[in-house]
Every structure is written in structure tokens, then in C-alpha cells.
Amino acid sequence: MSFSIFMQYLLNALQWGSFYALIALGYTMVYGVLLLINFAHGDIFMVGAYIGFFIATFLLGLVGGALPNWVILAITILGAMVLTAGVGVTIERVAYRPLRERGAHRLYVVITALMIGIFLEYLNLSLLGAADRGFPELISTTIYDLGGVSLTNTKVLVICLSILVMIGLEMFLRSTKVGMAMRAISYDRMAVPLMGVPVNTIITATFVIGSSLAALAGIMFGSAYHVLSFDMGILIGWKAFISAVVGGIGEIRGAMAGGFLLGFVEIFVVALGQIPGLEFLSSTYRDLIAFTILLLILTFRPTGLFGVARRQKV
């Protein structure tokens, strides 16, 4: 494998891992605060992408040409993040909070989350039909060739934005009151509410952040791959959830690490076949090998890479 091909794989892995990491953040934040696995999160990613699609198409029709495309993209991202956050908060209020307030076991809330996910998929299917949508090309793709390594502006944007967002999130959690409250609740969910921390507000904030990150991922996905479908969130959502678990669910840095790790493993397993002696490893084995590696990690570190085992008091 030559150096330029290796760099190409590395860039591919960074882009692909960015999507996993951005979605995994939503899973892990909700889990940290609520101990709830929000299985609807992959579909919130899909909803975010579609909201972005409609805003972008609407704006292009309204002021296309008058405004530069990057302005439209910025408005699309902001608008989709706000609206998707609304969807996430609504789901929490309508589906999860009533169960929680009636003291339902966590298992029932998880099942509810699964159902909400299916509900969102088929709502989309019945409203918009099974036909795939092409995401408008807001940034016309430019391809740069750096000594055999192909790089597009979209790829750079995806990687940079996701890294910026993660740094921003980490700072938010470290240095704001809401962020500290989130960490506090995940540390001790019995004592912290007694200290006067408004738990429901913090939960809402968690859903706002998680859902808007999913929307950002959705729009980036649309810009990078151009095709949207009603079931686009299922597989990527599951894999992001797995990467959140491998990173250590409940841990922000774990979600990032897990997301990028899964992206790297998936891409480089395919690349393995190029090493002399390993030619029999075709891409057909990709998921098999990738998930064997993840299983091994969990066998040796059951709480994930960044997870800390916590003893439960009986």
C-alpha cells in the first residue's frame, strides 16, 4: 500500500467516522442523563436531513442566485438544527416524560424509543413516499488532487465541522452551568435533584443538543452523499449506538473515540486485502471483521474505552 493510498483511506475514515461520532454523541448524552437508550436517535438524524432538504430546496427556490450558496447552507444548518431540536424535545415530552413521571421501568421507555423510531420512518414513508430524494448541492463539489490523494471541499467541511462541534461540546460541558448539571446528573442521579438542579430542564437541554447534532450530521450526510431515503437512519443509527457503547456509553469523549474508531475499522478492514498475503480478505468480510474487533474490545473492557465501572448500591 503506497503512502498516498494510505492517506486516502485515512481521509475516508475521518469523514465516515465523523458521522458515527456526531450521532453517537446524541445516544451517549441521553444515556448519561437519563440512563435511556434513545433508539429513535438514528431516525432523528433522518428527520434532520429531511428538514434540511426542505429548507434548502425552499430557500433555493425563493432566493437562489440572490444569496450566495454558503449563506443558504448556513441558514439551512441553523434552521434544521432548531427544528430538529424541537422534534427531539417534543418526542421527549410526549413519549418519554409521561412514562418517567409514572415511574415506569426503564425497559418500557427503551421500547417506546424503538417504537418512536419506527413511527418516524413510516411517517416519512407515508407522507413523502418511498422515492429517494436528491439533496441539493449547496456547495458545488471541488476535487483537489494532492499527490494522488483526492480531497473534496465537502470532505474537508465534514471533518472540520465535526471536530469543531466536538471541541465546542466538550467546552460547553466543562464550563457552563447547564453542562455541569448534565455531568452532575450522570454522576449521581439521586442526590443532584435534591440540590435544586431542575432535572427536566436539563433533560430538555440534553435532547436539544443531541437532536441538533443529529440534524447537523444529517445535512453533512446529504451534502456528502446527495441521496436521502426514509430508512437512511436505521443502519447508521445502530452502528453509531454500537460505537457509543464501545467508547463507553455516557461518556462524551467515548462517543467521539468510538465513532472514529468504528469509521477507521470499517474502512481499514477493506484496505487489509491490499496487503500482500491477505488478498483473500475481500470487502465482503468488512462487517464481520469490524464487529469482531469491537466485540474483542468489549470483552477486555466491558464498560467501553472511556467508561468507568460504577458500583450500584442495593
Binding site: M1, S2, I5, Q8, Y9, N12, A13, Q15, W16, A131, D132, G134, T141, I143, D145, S150, T152, T154, K155, F221, Y225, H226, V227, S229, D231, M232, I234, L235, I236, E266, I267, F268, V269, V270, A271, G273, Q274, S282, S283, T284, R286, D287
Partner: protein, 390 residues
């Protein structure tokens, strides 16, 4: 009419025919059954089939009728709606065979209906031609069942030949969905055909993914690192744009080829500029057609105001083959069982039939050996490029 009354009537007719002692003289009309979906989710397929079949019949009857041996017959179509359902298609075929006493059946179109209906026709020893069903099981081990289109695996050798002749490439890359029957089968048939032409190891990259994947960058980078001269990807319209665009973004600027699953208007819509100049194989192309094909398209367009789809063209050919086989019997006896057998035997012997979707000869299995059409994506349209034979 009850069944008994029906049998009585039939017995009477037969007795009268025998009493009349008219020897070679049979009935004046030939009945052909159409088992097509006029309602249900693929109703438009049925509508096009009916139009094409009726055009063919009008042609024959308008010219006086069909000459079989020393007698001229009028053709009568008996049309049954199979509601796009398998069970209704079987019921419709049973009615056509037993009640309407048709000589042969054209249809059903989709494999979902054609596979079970083929069994009924085979059991009742009635010739059936499905114009559009590409699943191998439709005709498998059924001597009475034929089809007018090529099979899924057939496109592999077709594309291998086309790429070799047209571009002179020797090193191939293939990217396909390992979890879906159609692409997987086609990818393997293409690989086999390519290696037969260019030797072992001439498929330098044979990469796969699974249904639902959207990022192909790893596979495409691997293909980039190989010395492949082109990519063959027999995928559906939702994956083609992803693959083509990602390939271009990775700096792969070689030609990309596909199969008839590309032939959906959605491919053009989702892929746009990126798919310009690419080729795929299919049954027929309306844009840029020539000769008899163009004549058919123009007549159809004048009559119905629409461009006929591949199903209409294939139904036209299925009707044509059937009428040819009936003519080749050299005369009908009037005994429906014997006539059906004679028609089946003639169908099996059809050689080099010049259809509007290509020249066809039937194999033992009742599948045609025919040429495919190569379509080029040009100016945002599917245009006829050339014909390729296996």
C-alpha cells in the same frame, strides 16, 4: 352457464364438427389469452401490455387474418386482469385454459405472478409466454413455458463483450451488493464472462457492500489502487448516484457500466451530471431506436400519446413469436389439446425471430437467446447506443 351445460355445449359442437366431416377445417378464430395486471400496484404494466397486444391483433386481423396452413384465421384476444397478484394470476390462467379454451397464453408480466402461473400452464399443457419475467424459475423445468426477455444473469456476458469490443479494456473492477440476489448474481456472471475473455485474474478488484450502505469510499479507494480500467456495478437507481459521485470525488475518472436496473428515471434525477456518458445494458431503448423498433414506437405514440415502455415492446414481440409459432404448425386440427402441443413444439423451435427487442432463438429451457441494447446516458436521457449479442 354451469360447467355441465358448458361441457354439453362443447360436446355438441365437437359432435357437429365431426358430423360435418370437414377434415382439415377447424374453427375460424384463434383465441389467445392475456393474463395481465390491469389493476393493482403495477397496473400501468398491464395497460401497456394490452395496448401492444391489441395493436398486434389489429394488424393481423386488419390484413385479413393469420394464414395457418391452407386456412385464414381471425385472432381473438381474451383479456383477464390478474390484479397484480399471484393468486389472481393463477385463477385467471385457469379460467383462460379451461373455460375460454385459449390456444396459448401471453403473460403474466412480473415474476411474482409469472412463476406460479407457469406451473398451472405447464400442468394443463398450454403454451405460455411471459414477455417480461426475468426470474429463472419462471421457465425452469417447464417445457410449456417460454419468455420473451433475457434472464438476469445473461447481461453479464453481454456487458463483458460490449466493453471488450468497444473499449478494448482488459482489467475490470466490480462493485456490488452482496446481500441482494440480482446484483450479486449479475456481478458473478460478469466476472465469469470477463475471465473467460481475458483470462484468470483479469477482474482486478471484486468488491462488495451490503444493502443500506452509503459510504463506498473504502471499496472505491481499493479499486483506485488496483489497475482497473473501468468499473461494472449492477446496482439500483438509489445506489448508482452514490457510487458514481463518490468514485469521481476520489479521482476515479474511468468509465462506469451498469445493467438494466439503472434504467429508472430516478437514476437520471439523482445522479444528474455525474452519470453523463455512462453505459448500461437493457431490453430496449425508446430514445434513438431505429428500424422496426422505431416504427412500433411511433405508431404506439400516435395512438396512445405515450412512449411505450420495455414491457409494451416485449409484449409485442411475445405476441409476434406466438403467432409465428402458430403459423409454423402448418395447420390446426381443431382439437385444442393437439393444437396446443403443436404450438408448443413450434415455439421451442423458433430460431432467429426478428423482434423489435432483438433477434431471438429459444433454448431448451424456453428462454430466448437474444441481443441486448446498450443505452448511453446523454443529455439527461437514456439513448440507444447499439445492440450487443452474447
Amino acid at each position: 352457464m354451469t360447467k355441465r351445460a358448458l361441457f354439453a355445449a362443447l360436446a355438441l359442437i365437437t359432435a357437429m364438427a365431426l358430423l360435418a366431416g370437414c377434415g382439415p377445417r377447424g374453427p375460424e378464430t384463434i383465441k389467445i389469452g392475456l393474463d395481465i395486471p390491469l389493476t393493482g400496484d403495477i397496473a400501468y404494466v398491464g395497460v401497456q401490455s394490452q395496448r401492444a397486444a391489441e395493436m398486434k391483433v389489429e394488424d393481423i386481423n386488419g390484413a385479413g387474418g393469420l394464414q395457418v396452413g391452407d386456412q385464414v384465421y381471425q385472432i381473438e384476444l381474451v383479456i383477464e386482469d390478474n390484479e397484480s397478484k399471484a393468486e389472481s394470476a393463477v385463477a385467471a390462467a385457469t379460467k383462460l385454459i379451461i373455460q375460454d379454451q385459449v390456444l396459448a397464453i401471453v403473460g403474466p408480466q412480473a415474476s411474482k405472478q409469472a412463476v406460479p402461473t407457469g406451473e398451472v400452464c405447464n400442468e394443463h399443457e398450454t403454451p405460455m409466454i411471459s414477455p417480461w419475467s426475468t426470474n429463472p424459475n419462471t421457465t425452469l423445468n417447464r417445457p410449456w413455458v417460454f419468455r420473451a426477455c433475457f434472464l438476469d444473469p445473461f447481461q453479464g456476458p453481454v456487458m463483458a463483450n460490449f466493453i471488450t469490443e468497444e473499449f478494448g479494456y482488459t482489467k475490470a473492477a466490480v462493485l456490488y451488493d452482496v446481500a441482494s440476489d440480482y446484483p450479486k448474481g449479475l456481478a458473478e456472471f460478469f466476472k465469469a464472462a470477463w475471465e473467460e475473455l481475458h483470462g484468470e485474474g483479469s477482474v482486478v478488484a471484486f468488491e462488495s457492500f451490503t444493502t443500506g450502505d452509503t459510504d463506498f469510499s473504502a471499496q472505491l479507494t481499493k479499486i483506485k489502487a488496483s489497475d482497473a480500467e473501468f468499473l461494472f456495478t449492477p446496482q439500483y437507481y438509489n445506489e448508482v448516484p452514490l457510487i458514481v459521485k463518490q468514485a469521481r470525488e476520489l479521482g476515479l475518472d474511468f468509465p462506469i457500466f451498469g445493467s438494466d436496473s439503472w434504467g429508472d428515471p430516478k437514476t437520471l434525477e439523482l445522479c444528474g451530471e455525474a452519470c453523463e456518458g455512462l453505459y448500461f445494458s437493457t431490453h430496449y431503448a425508446a430514445e434513438g431506436a431505429v428500424g422496426a423498433t422505431k416504427e412500433f414506437i411511433d405508431r404506439y405514440y400516435d395512438k396512445y400519446g405515450e412512449v411505450p415502455g420495455d414491457v409494451a415492446a416485449l409484449t409485442w414481440d411475445a405476441m409476434g413469436i406466438l403467432l409465428q409459432a402458430i403459423q409454423n404448425t402448418g395447420g390446426l386440427t381443431g382439437d385444442i389439446a393437439a393444437d396446443r402441443r403443436a404450438v408448443r413444439d413450434q415455439l421451442a423451435q423458433i430460431r432467429d425471430y426478428e423482434g423489435i427487442t432483438g433477434r431471438m432463438s429459444f433454448t431448451e429451457e424456453g428462454d430466448p437467446i437474444k441481443c441486448a441494447v446498450i443505452v448511453k446516458i446523454e443529455g439527461g436521457k437514456f439513448t440507444f447506443y447499439r445492440q450487443v449479442c452474447p
